[in-house]
């Protein structure tokens, strides 16, 4: 039986799943009491969707355009600050910028639009600074891209990493205090009320990234990734497309930065270090370099693990095991070991470079019973293969030992190991295939 669905049904199914998910998130956030363990699920979905967006934007660069860039945390930082600065309510400025005489911006876009348009103005007032965040980061990405994108592979990674650190230091600079509050935190800015907000924004952004990847531009990006010289020979302008991919990736990193600012409710430059970039990279690698669905799955798994499942590793007790090793920071050690194991044994990640599709999903579900049935056989076979390999190894060892003994014996008896060939003084032709001895 052919389980393929036509496109209409697939779209309907996807839409139904998404709506169901949205409804769950929306009502889940309203109805679940704070403090219950289910609340953690909502938090994971919130933070996971933000990281899914930034991981997808990083994957666009690393997985689809082949540019190994490590600047994502720096770009998120700019996005977060841009959003926060323009949405701090007017009467909170004196409190937030207490060391800088209330700062230089004394108004909030949210308040201005809210007073004119009411509730619609409130949301518009959140969306506009977010868009500004994205655009500003895109502009900065554009400027950084001009020199940096002439570099290749590791050099590009080092340069982008350097820029990210410069950005972080720049935002903590005291002279910029009236704007960025120096090294103090920004707080009291407008945040979303329901978890559905970041989920929707991230969802729409990821959908745009997916559309981009499947467009002509996306094909050009992938051509550049696979072979720059061939791509150039096909008439693809390398620099233009790399710059485009870099700018778009920066834009979405900016948006996710703004969302992260809202999620955290306070923001400072300190946590946007290279460690954060590596976390994003970890998500991309776990999910599969070159798969957006992989990045999304990886983001949720990573967030769930770090915020929820592995919390105990820092707290001294995890799954009933307690050890003096488990003190704050131990989680990071576990993650480091995890990424090494993944890179060594599972470097394709969860999704490899494939995307989710309903056809693939149903085919996978259908193949499960057979796979489960075949599993013992498979295991048996792999065990037998391992056994055989061990046997071959030990046999070789034994042979070597025996040869050594024989050699000693022969040496004492003066007898040769082989008979030399007869080297004739004329040309010999071997008619029969194979042997000449």
């Amino acid at each position: 039986m052919d389980t393929r669905l036509d496109n209409k049904k697939k779209i309907a199914l996807s839409a139904a799943c998404l709506i169901l998910f949205m409804v769950f998130v929306y009502f889940g956030d309203i109805m679940i009491r704070p403090g219950s363990s289910m609340k953690m699920l909502i938090t994971v979905i919130e933070k996971g969707s933000i990281f899914a967006l930034v991981a997808a934007s990083m994957n666009l660069l690393n997985g689809f355009t082949g540019l190994f860039s490590l600047g994502q945390a720096g770009f998120m930082l700019i996005g977060a600050y841009t959003y926060a600065i323009f949405t701090i309510p007017a009467d909170s400025h004196d409190k937030v910028y207490q060391y800088f005489n209330g700062g230089i911006i004394k108004w909030s876009i949210v308040e201005i639009l809210e007073s004119k348009l009411g509730l619609a103005g409130h949301y518009l007032g959140m969306l506009i600074p977010m868009l500004m965040a994205g655009l500003l980061v895109a502009l900065i990405g554009f400027l950084i891209g001009i020199p940096v994108l002439r570099l290749k592979s590791d050099y590009l990674a080092i340069a982008t990493l350097g820029f990210a650190e410069i950005i972080r230091a720049f935002f903590q600079w005291n002279t910029l205090g009236p704007l960025t509050n120096g090294s103090n935190v920004l707080r009291k800015y407008t945040t979303y009320k329901n978890a559905i907000f970041p989920v929707m924004i991230a969802g729409i952004s990821i959908a745009i990234i997916l559309l981009l990847i499947n467009s002509t531009y996306g094909r050009a990006f992938r051509a550049i990734r696979d072979d720059e010289i061939a791509a150039e020979a096909m008439g693809i302008n390398l620099f233009k497309h790399k710059e485009m991919s870099f700018v778009i990736s920066s834009f979405f990193a900016g948006i996710s930065g703004a969302l992260l600012a809202m999620f955290q409710t306070t923001i400072s430059a300190t946590p946007f270090t290279t460690v954060m970039t590596y976390e994003i990279l970890l998500i991309v690698v776990i999910g599969g370099i070159g798969s957006i669905t992989g990045s999304v799955i990886g983001a949720f798994l990573f967030t769930a693990a770090s915020e929820w499942w592995l919390r105990g590793l820092d707290a001294g007790k995890w799954m009933g095991i307690s050890s003096s090793l488990m003190r704050p920071g131990f989680r990071k050690v576990v993650f480091a070991i995890l990424i090494m194991l993944i890179v060594l044994f599972y470097s394709r990640g969860i999704m490899g470079d494939k995307e989710f599709s309903w056809d693939g999903f149903f085919a996978w579900c259908k193949s499960r019973p057979a796979a489960v049935k075949a599993w013992p056989e498979k295991r048996k076979a792999s065990r037998a293969a391992k056994k055989e390999a061990r046997a071959v190894k030990s046999a070789a060892k034994a042979r070597a030992k025996q040869a050594k003994e024989e050699k000693e014996a022969r040496k004492s008896s003066g007898e040769g190991l082989f008979t030399p060939l007869v080297l004739a003084d004329h040309v010999v032709v071997f008619e029969k295939e194979g042997r000449n001895g």
Binding site: A400, G416, L417, F418, H426, V427, V429
Partner: protein, 234 residues
Amino acid sequence: MLAIRNLNVHYGGIHALRGIDIDVPDGKIISLIGANGAGKSTTLKSVMGLVAKSDGRVFWDDTEITSLRTKDIVAEGIILCPEGRRIFPDLTVDENIAAGAYLRKDKAEIARDREWVYNLFPRLSERTWQLGATLSGGEQQMLAVARALMSKPKLLMLDEPSLGLAPLVIKDIFNVIQKIREDGVNILLIEQNAKVALDISDYAYVMETGVITMAGPGKALLSDPRVQQAYLGE
């Protein structure tokens, strides 16, 4: 001496070597000629343990080296000078040569062998501080041979030393190969350039699609009509 018996190699489903028997007696230059893809390089690589053998045995004097690891085979005194030179481009000539003595510890002897290879290739001794990449093709081939000799081999296996070189340079290199033999190193030579190889070989094997089809003294093969037609273009 080196003795290869019934050597078989498979690359996946492809049966690349189908029962090769070759002897390299002491004090002789033996060559293995044949067209592209006949299995010449595979023969050398499998002797060195760089390619897995599916059947057959390899003997070195009174030792069986069939299942030894490459580094142990080198320690036994067999060295492969690989196809396409493969010198270290970012090391100087001197460093390249020192790298050839990697497995040796006898400093005084290493110094003596360095003198020896510089005497064999005076061109290199003029360029000890030059980076490998800056040498000409012929000089790079000389460097590759010199580097191989620094392991103090009893058997030198050369894979296509004439590849991509001008006729005059080829002549130079083959003169040195004869000198190396006089210094007591056995030589197993692989060549597509059958004429130069047969000219200096004491004995030669002709290989076709994984099988030895003819054998004989170098000069006799050189004048053999079948060899002339197939490999000498006459």
